[in-house]
Symmetry: C2
Amino acid sequence: MVEIAVMGHGVVGSGVVEVIVGNRENITNHAKEDINVKYILDLRDFPDTLYANKFIKDFNIILNDPDVRIVVETMGGIHPAYEYVKACLQAGKSVVTSNKELVAAKGAELLAIAKEKNVNFLFEASVGGGIPILRPISQCLAANEVYDIAGILNGTTNYILTKMIHEHTPFDKALETAQKKGFAERNPEADIEGHDACRKICILASLSFGEHIYPENVHTEGISKITSEDVDYAASGDYSIKLIGRARRHNDSKVEAWVAPALVPSTCQLSTVDGVFNGIIVWGNVIGEVMFYGKGAGKLPTASAVVADVIDCVKHLKSRKYLFWRDGSTSDIKDYSESKTAMYVRVCGKNAKDAVKNVYGEVKPLHRENQPDDELAFVTDIFTIKDHEHKMEELKTQGARVLGSLRVF
Amino acid sequence: MVEIAVMGHGVVGSGVVEVIVGNRENITNHAKEDINVKYILDLRDFPDTLYANKFIKDFNIILNDPDVRIVVETMGGIHPAYEYVKACLQAGKSVVTSNKELVAAKGAELLAIAKEKNVNFLFEASVGGGIPILRPISQCLAANEVYDIAGILNGTTNYILTKMIHEHTPFDKALETAQKKGFAERNPEADIEGHDACRKICILASLSFGEHIYPENVHTEGISKITSEDVDYAASGDYSIKLIGRARRHNDSKVEAWVAPALVPSTCQLSTVDGVFNGIIVWGNVIGEVMFYGKGAGKLPTASAVVADVIDCVKHLKSRKYLFWRDGSTSDIKDYSESKTAMYVRVCGKNAKDAVKNVYGEVKPLHRENQPDDELAFVTDIFTIKDHEHKMEELKTQGARVLGSLRVF
């Protein structure tokens, strides 16, 4: 019998307890040990649950109970999750977390403590919800140098974009529906503005490249500026607009990392990842391209990943799973202005067409219904972001109004 | 330093040696030990390779060398691979294989020996080439009861079907191109007739459900009867024809397993898995649906999976990875005639339309270019295969000629 504690009894935390109780036989089969939830830490009371007697409000009970070998953290946010997780690791307990904000901000530090104390710090659920992705990268692709990762990492924004694409719903309306359905939070900023996707691409990049990539060093754009017109123009060229997170190691060892909406061609597997699903493509030097797909959030999918990590901790109580990255610095990061991409550009104005011709030469126009005569949208050749910015300045100088611009994936 | 031997120096075997030498630093980082290929077993001579001095022709040299702790088998076929692998396991060596025919036929027996001898028998590369699939099922989905698996498991047939769908190439011509490009063997029967996909679904089912499912008990149909007309009719209803392998555990614990071409609706993620790529969907009771996608064959992708298994063996030289299934019997298998599905049916004849109306009621017709007046194709409601057969007999009795019928996924 292995005793564990679960910190936080929100959506994910309550799912973890449910799964451990509900799939007990299967889990014991895999773990080769019975797993018992000894404590559930939450400031709220849950008198009506089956586990009412397990609830505690004082973290120190967990910390000071030597029977608790594994602690699950599903509280979210950095404080006090960080202090609690750190204290548990330092006390020689293994920790499993679904908290992407914590891992993206403090991963290197917490992994170093876990290494020193010879315990496990696992966080499969922090990226892609239940989709197996961190363990496949670190174990199944161990023969590879992973050099590129790109994915749809946020289900909320993908749900909104899918509604904009397939049902012609404007952004505000799509967001409202997402909120009603519980796919978006009342304060949707972390999702809509790309911060959630940014944390996940940071974790993927840190694991794949071995050095911590911090969110504040990653160029991050959200989807709130995408219009129905952009969606229609994109469709005419066989593109879907998706919020993409990407991290790529260049030959000079610098990492290009960004989160931005992008036009994804229909030939790319990511273009058909719709609704609340996530899809993550990983490129390795031996395997080529692989993709992982599934529900990136939700109570049970996320609990599935947390419990798999708990099982792994139980099987490795005396040894340590190899999962590690060093601390990193800004000098490892490529300047976003040097990132190369083709660009979707939408302009209007009496002189717009001439201006486009002067700046870009001949372009192949995209189309939409009810397109005004003085409006033009097109996809450019590949340039650096810096050069794109210069060109768009030049368009303005020549009298064109730039209504929108987006990366092409 | 861990010494290994590689048996077979064909496409996969030579890839394994290349990857171990070429990605040495990365591999040592992951394995925490240097890995050295001590012997390569092959009946042929390879005087011009860099490893010419490692070649041997006598298996007993490997078997009797106590320094060799891990043996890689990439010879293919059942004999003598089975005898060699068995002897290695019995001698206390761990074995890694890419040989799906061997695992599908002898998996339960070899896993039992590995268990008894406390060594590892790993075979990630036997399904989906380099795509991580067996390890994710057994580890990342450990909190789940996996109850259903469906996939495009054979790249050769998927390449042929993709050419038929996107380039309107007839079957024979598409097969010829596949052979020219090296995607199909000169004797393509194992691929075309579904035997290769059948071995893979057997391995996936055995691992997921815990009991060996043998290929001879799995209904297997190939793609050689698919016509361009079928492809066109399917497209008119937004379906792509794909060779699907599926294994599903029903509530009575019986397993429904089959390999057959099927009409896949465009809303299903598998419909966009094109060319030589494979895609495998797994359903678990906690996680819901997840999909794994990538190149299902090829020298380096397959070598990637083999080497990841070797690394895992190195890390678990003293313990055993949990990967196991019991022997199984035909009583575990649901009779194929009881399998329930909607069916695509194509009929012709003067009385065809009346016959269809009498047998199925009103149907929604599919369409194709140059469709003769007396031809009709449609998708039925869901019935058992047995009932479908009765209905098609009835169609014939009423004067309709059945030109083709295919499952709908």
